[in-house]
């Protein structure tokens, strides 16, 4: 069932697929075609090295990245891509759904995160939503963002533990602060805080727009901003804290 219009002209190209598993890569290609892409609009990299090689020669608009690659974790690539091309949509497609990894991917600059095992239709719609400018945030992420960035906290989040990198550990550990430091207050505007609360309840962008009498596009923009603020502030905060603790 395709209830969306074929907006090939407006689809961001080219697309970078970083996936070492043959079957999954084929699946993604098929989905892209269903979305309206044509053969040739995307490149498939089977490893980090390959992906980096592609990135040197071409400037991608969208990336679908798997985390479990043969020569390393896709997280490094995400941060590189985000730093070099901030406007790029980076979607993480992974078989791991642990909260730590999701948070870390988002910290590094990913736009969204979805599980491989979801149905084709779900992945398709997710990618489409991301392409249309939405930044789908998991509700539990929204909860954490609320506690981290100075809104009211809906739940007391337990102190995080992550084995992967000090900055991530710091960032995740920052969740344990009951009161965010003064520097974080005011990072989110009241409107953004409101939106984040609705995201935490699981509302879709359209529902949020309806609720707040905004256009869907405006709501999506707000959410994107929130993401960016999260990535920047949490990264700088994490770096600062890590430096203070002598980790760097």
């Amino acid at each position: 069932m395709n209830h969306f219009s074929n907006k090939r002209a407006v689809l961001p190209t080219p697309v970078l697929i970083v996936e070492d598993e043959r079957g999954m890569a084929a699946r993604l290609e098929r989905l892209l075609m269903l979305l309206g892409y044509a053969y040739g609009d995307w490149c498939v990299a089977r490893s980090l090295a390959e992906a980096r090689a592609y990135c040197r020669t071409e400037s991608f608009a969208v990336a679908l990245i798997d985390l479990g690659l043969p020569d390393g974790s896709g997280l490094d690539l995400i941060s590189d891509l985000h730093n070099s091309r901030p406007g790029m949509s980076v979607l993480v497609i992974s078989s791991c759904a642990s909260e730590d990894v999701i948070v870390m991917a988002l910290r590094e600059g990913a736009t969204g995160y979805l599980l491989k095992e979801r149905e084709d239709l779900e992945i398709q719609l997710y990618i489409q939503s991301a392409l249309m400018g939405g930044a789908p945030i998991d509700p539990f992420i929204a909860k954490r963002l609320l506690t981290l960035m100075g809104g009211s906290s809906t739940t007391a989040v337990s102190g995080g533990r992550s084995a992967l990198s000090p900055s991530a550990a710091m960032a995740v550990a920052g969740h344990g602060h009951p009161k965010p430091p003064a520097a974080d207050k005011g990072i989110l505007s009241p409107r953004e805080t409101e939106i984040l609360k609705l995201v935490a309840e699981g509302l879709t962008n359209r529902e949020i727009a309806e609720r707040l009498y905004l256009s869907t596009h405006t709501a999506a923009c707000h959410i994107k901003n929130i993401y960016r603020k999260l990535a920047v502030s949490s990264r700088t905060k994490a770096m600062r804290e890590a430096r203070l603790l002598g980790l760097f």
Binding site: H3, E122, L125, Y126, D138, P139, T154, G160, G202, R206
Partner: protein, 628 residues
């Protein structure tokens, strides 16, 4: 230079006669005597004044071996040395008084141990016979008399006098001072460490020695009024000295001869009483007996200790035994002196300082040994403590690792439990379903739906196991948020209108099992809606119904308060209601089991082309019978 021609003595007035009488020189009764003189031999029991007449004349010295200048010069002074006068006396040379002691009546000055030395100017020396009168007042029974006298040139006489002074007065004084000092020191030590009685007894020994030894130096017997009182006092001190030394020996070496010591103390007490109370006439024998007894105690103590040290063979004891041998020798010698068996100076006065130093050494040695033992003990204690600490740490570590492995075991049990509940039962059911199907084999779609349902179960178990925060969601809105996000996106993409009506609060605290069951339930219901119903509208509802409340949607009245979770759609429904269960995905059938196991009820309504409703009803305030 001078030659003593004759010495004679005569009794004067006894004590009790008037002063003038005592001052008169007797006319008769002069007997020639030899100095030193103890008049008790001649006039036993005479207590009073005795006059001594010493006739001498200056004489030419023997021809000098040196030619030339003669050392004799009539203008040179002469010197007189008197060994002692027992007790007090007066000396007159040719009518000039040389000296007069402080008190010639009671209380008598004590000069029995006091040498005198007088330089006589040449003008006092008559040519021919000179007479030196010495009046001595004393008690016959106490050895009264005049000691040796020497007259000659100072060069000859003075050295003898000085030697005498040294041995009779200086050394004893030195002796007493040391004894007093040591007594003070050890008294202080004992006051700090009352348990170490040896130190206390030694202090007493020292002090008793001082009081006893003062007898050799004291001239004025204040505060006592008479010689015999003084004598009692001295002997009492002597006995104290002897007993204290005995006790010191016993305590120092750890001897425990109770009976012996007690009997000795008994005797001593008797002696004290006698000494204090016996009348003067019977004093002398008591004094002698006491002194003798005391000395015997001392000697006996020393001899006994030799055997004791031989028995124990401890270094300390042997050292003390050696000291005591010295003491034995000097003590015996002085005893013989006392008993007039020898005529010399007392050895104790000379030996005593050495003895004292040895004793101090001994006590200091013991003190140091104690200190060392304390340090060693301290060290041992530290060692012990560190061993204990290490043991404790090991125990704690063992306990800790035990707790850790216990916790890990618990987690593994929990995981296996979750897997069994979540995935295992669904798998078993799926297998049963596939096995039981007689007739045409299942369609590929069927198999797929089974597998996908199992995958969803596994996904839930994994998410739950790995979740940081496994607490139950605080309110239904929080609980439904992930589902809402996922399926909301899907429905929007599919053009399906979806409404979510969720209560604000849980009616009670739900268990994780119930929460997970409800989550899977809604998940499967919505999956079915997407896959099979072709609906355009979906309603997801969570509501709490009070007891007796009429529920419009449920079209029933619930007797007890109930939590109702419902998914309704307006799709094509299930075509064969009788086979509704069969047509339902394996997923919803598993959900029925899980809901029922969580203590709830599973309800299904469906009409052909009229939509489907699946509902889970959980009673409120139920003590969950499920495992979690």
């Amino acid at each position: 230079m001078a030659e003593i021609l004759n010495v004679s003595a005569a009794r004067g007035a006894p004590f009790g006669a008037g002063l003038t009488e005592q001052a008169m020189r007797p006319e008769q009764g002069w007997a020639n005597i030899v100095l030193p003189d103890v008049w008790n031999k001649r006039w036993p029991g005479f207590d009073g004044v005795v006059w001594y007449r010493i006739e001498w004349q200056a004489c030419e010295p023997a021809a000098s071996a040196f030619a030339g200048k003669s050392s004799a010069d009539p203008a040179d002074p002469m010197a007189i040395w008197l060994e002692y006068t027992n007790m007090a006396g007066e000396g007159v040379l040719n009518g000039d008084r040389l000296w007069r002691d402080g008190s010639l009546a009671e209380p008598l000055s004590r000069n029995w141990n006091r040498p005198r030395y007088y330089v006589i100017p040449a003008s006092s020396v008559k040519p021919g016979v000179n007479t030196l009168w010495v009046r001595v007042a004393g008690y016959g029974s106490f050895g009264a008399g005049l000691g040796a006298v020497a007259i000659g040139s100072p060069a000859m006489i003075e050295p003898a006098y000085e030697k005498d002074m040294l041995l009779r007065r200086s050394l004893p004084a030195f002796n007493l001072v040391i004894a007093a000092a040591l007594g003070c020191i050890f008294l202080c030590v004992w006051l700090m460490l009352p348990k170490e009685t040896a130190y206390g007894w030694y202090a007493l020994t020292s002090f008793a020695w001082v009081f006893f030894g003062a007898n050799t130096l004291v001239i004025d017997i204040w505060p006592f009024g008479s010689t015999e009182q003084w004598n009692r006092w001295v002997v009492i001190n002597f006995l104290i000295y002897c007993m204290a030394f005995r006790m010191f020996t016993a305590r120092f070496s750890g001897q425990n001869f109770r009976l012996l010591d007690q009997s000795l103390w008994g005797l001593t007490l008797v002696a004290f009483i006698l000494l204090a109370l016996v009348p003067a006439s019977m004093l002398k024998p008591v004094l002698d007996a006491s002194v003798l007894g005391g000395v015997l105690v001392l000697l006996f103590n020393c001899v006994l200790f030799q055997f004791y040290a031989f028995h124990t063979r401890k270094a300390e004891h042997i050292f003390l035994a050696v000291c005591m041998v010295v003491f034995l020798v000097t003590g015996t010698h002085d005893l013989m002196l006392f008993l007039d068996m020898v005529d010399r100076y007392g050895m104790t006065t000379v030996a005593a300082p050495v003895m004292m130093v040895c004793m101090s050494l001994l006590l200091a040695w013991r003190f140091a040994a104690n200190m060392r033992r304390t340090e060693q003990f301290h060290h041992l204690l530290e060692l012990r403590v560190s061993i204990m600490r290490r043991q404790l740490m090991d125990t704690l570590e063992a306990q800790h690792s035990l707790q850790l492995s216990n916790a890990r075991l618990q987690e593994r049990l929990q995981l296996s439990h979750d897997l069994h509940d979540g995935v295992g039962s669904s798998l078993v059911r799926a297998i049963a379903m596939v096995e039981q199907k007689d007739g045409p084999s299942m369609s590929r779609a069927r198999y797929l739906s089974i597998l996908k349902s199992l995958r969803a179960d596994l996904r839930q178990v994994l998410d739950y196991t790995l979740a940081e925060n496994r607490a139950v969601p605080k309110n239904p809105r929080e609980w439904i948020a992930p589902l809402r996000r996922r399926y909301g996106l899907l429905f929007e993409g599919l053009g399906v209108q979806c409404e979510w009506r969720v209560a604000d609060e849980w009616p009670q605290t739900l268990t994780p099992a119930q929460i997970l069951a409800l989550t899977r339930f809604v998940e499967e219901a919505l999956t079915n809606v997407i896959k099979h119903s072709g609906a355009t509208q979906v309603l997801v509802r969570l509501q709490v119904h009070e007891a007796g409340e009429r529920c419009e949607a449920c079209v029933t009245t619930h007797d007890a308060p109930i939590l109702c979770v419902e998914v309704t759609d307006n799709g094509r429904g299930i075509d064969t209601p009788t086979h509704a269960e069969e047509t339902l995905g394996i997923g919803l059938r598993s959900m029925r089991t899980r809901i029922e196991r969580a203590g709830g009820q599973f309800v299904l309504h469906s009409e052909v082309q009229g939509g489907t409703t699946v509902r889970a009803l959980l009673p409120v305030r139920t003590t969950d019978s499920a495992s979690r």
